[in-house]
Symmetry: C2
Subunit: 389 residues, 2 copies
Amino acid sequence: ADKIKHKDLSDPFANDPYRHPALRVNSEKPFNAEPPPSLLVDSFVTPNELFFVRNHLPVPQCDMQNFKLRVEVPGKKTINLSMDNLKKNFKEHTIMATMQCAGNRRSQMSGYKTVKGLSWRYGAISTAEWTGVKLRDLLLQAGLTEEDEAKFAHIQFEGLDKDASGGHYGSSIPFSVAMNPFRDVLVAYKMNGTDIPADHGCPLRVIIPGNIGARSVKWLYKIVASDQESPSHWQQNDYKSFNPSVDFGQLDYKTAPAIQEYPVQSAICTPRDGSKVDVDEEKVTIKGYAWSGGGRGILRVDVSVDGGKEWHVAELQDAGQKISRVWAWTLWEAEIPIPKDHGGKLDICCKAIDSSHNVQPDTMKGIWNVRGLLNTAWHRIHVGVVQEE
Amino acid sequence: ADKIKHKDLSDPFANDPYRHPALRVNSEKPFNAEPPPSLLVDSFVTPNELFFVRNHLPVPQCDMQNFKLRVEVPGKKTINLSMDNLKKNFKEHTIMATMQCAGNRRSQMSGYKTVKGLSWRYGAISTAEWTGVKLRDLLLQAGLTEEDEAKFAHIQFEGLDKDASGGHYGSSIPFSVAMNPFRDVLVAYKMNGTDIPADHGCPLRVIIPGNIGARSVKWLYKIVASDQESPSHWQQNDYKSFNPSVDFGQLDYKTAPAIQEYPVQSAICTPRDGSKVDVDEEKVTIKGYAWSGGGRGILRVDVSVDGGKEWHVAELQDAGQKISRVWAWTLWEAEIPIPKDHGGKLDICCKAIDSSHNVQPDTMKGIWNVRGLLNTAWHRIHVGVVQEE
Ligand SMILES: [Mo]
Ligand SMILES: [Mo]
């Protein structure tokens, strides 16, 4: 901070904030970075400065003096809410929710067969306590009722971040998600008890717990009820999945639905892939995360050190979440004896089961897709077994 | 019907009803049988006489003159409802819902490694229109409110069917499922427009759409709100899943949760496994079903005739269900060219993706369990390619 950088004012990224040096950068402009996996499992709630950053565009400047959130229900009401108004006139809620980029674990999918997109390892996931008001309460205030689904099937969001031609980042979610009182969609102004930092959507971010991160629009300034999904690039022509036989030339985005809820996921955070364990330790301690979309909790995590021949049940840490509205991840830990016939290496893998008994696929054979989205195959790492002197 | 069978009155199964001869019987006493898969995909709604039958005990006789359904909320009210009362005093609802036994496709799991249980092929699934009243409305009438979850976490059911020692079949579901207005749990008295047949729960069956069939208690006569799950054998010591390394001697049912929602499933119904297609036809038409639990709809079904190297997207028939409350299956059809390099056989497989982008596992390697439950691995069949004269 005591170094003065010479800013290039023609650079739209000139006002991007300071970032923590521990973050592994996948892209500088726009900024995309993930924390080291070993730090992720150090605490149930990820510190703000280590929370993964997935920006599609330059970080926008918000004129806080004049900022108002616009909530528009065509044919009913449009309301414009100052930050003060938002905080004073609606009930405050806090939820613990995990955010995960749909591209998390993409680099491993590329290892199977090349895909296009930012090369996320397995740190494009983090957990925070989000505080704000319920989106449902804002929509009710703007005149939307539970009977309006046929007319307003989608709730659209726009962020202050803009591309070179002035188009805003945007997304939408189904009416049934936005208006479901059990779905806990928030318009948040706090992240882990402090104002939301610049990289994470200051002053407002809509939090769609249980959905892919791309739907949780940062720098939120506009909410519109509509009969259409968001027209934005990221709703229409990105964040959609195809089967493994569809290659780049054949992508017809109109044929695929926009990804909303996340399927069940897990990953091994320690030990590090390619590291070594001492055979004299006799055991290896393995730690990681598991999470599923739609509020589904994690029932069990199975861990193997022999590539899936023998499975061990991990100890779970879920912070006491209710099984039917589980928005945050489950951290897990397994202490597994090093097998006698290790042959100098451990083939460690994990897989999780969610409250609907959904499972992760064995491999990427059936889920590989050209955009590298939703890689939820069993996570596998290789660790050497050595004899220390 | 014109044949008079000599009844053995000491046989508790003596009063079991007539069954359609097309059903493939897995067990006579208790009666368990499934329709041929090719008939399953002939119609979106399964005719009652072809609907799979999964009975745990003899079919009970119901004294219709004196029958009353008991709904009990301890410390609040107990109500006893005659059939007339039930039909006249509560709003009638009809839902189309698929019922699937948690043991569907068990025989294929046994092909991987032997499991214990009824050897269901892939017909332990059927779809009907169920008409009745909402369980939620009955519970509200008995004094349960939305704020009672902490006190009554479970809603228990009992059927009139009894084992040799007089114990009733029973199950329970979470409060949040029973009381959720979007979850559509019914106490049904009609199945496809007629009184529920004897094998399917006459006069009442609770329908928990999106959950395993075992929770939808037939011959329902008692509903109790409780802080405990059902004490029945089938809730406590069956219908639970373990990882592939747990063998029979090690089963500790207390460590595993009772299975409720079903994960995503699909199967190929025609052509038949082991049948032949004529190479001069140039194409093969493949039909099947796909379904997922929790109201999640089917987004896509992928079909391959070369064991998963090349995938084709199937045409879906979902009868216009809403994507967020999809209780019935999706039928699908794919017409796929016979590859030039067929080598005399087709290795046909299918897999489905649900609205949360959950997928089926590639193989049984990670999901095999000693009780053979929830086999949702890619369904595979083999078909010969021949040159007709
Ligand atoms: Mo993302
Ligand atoms: Mo079942």
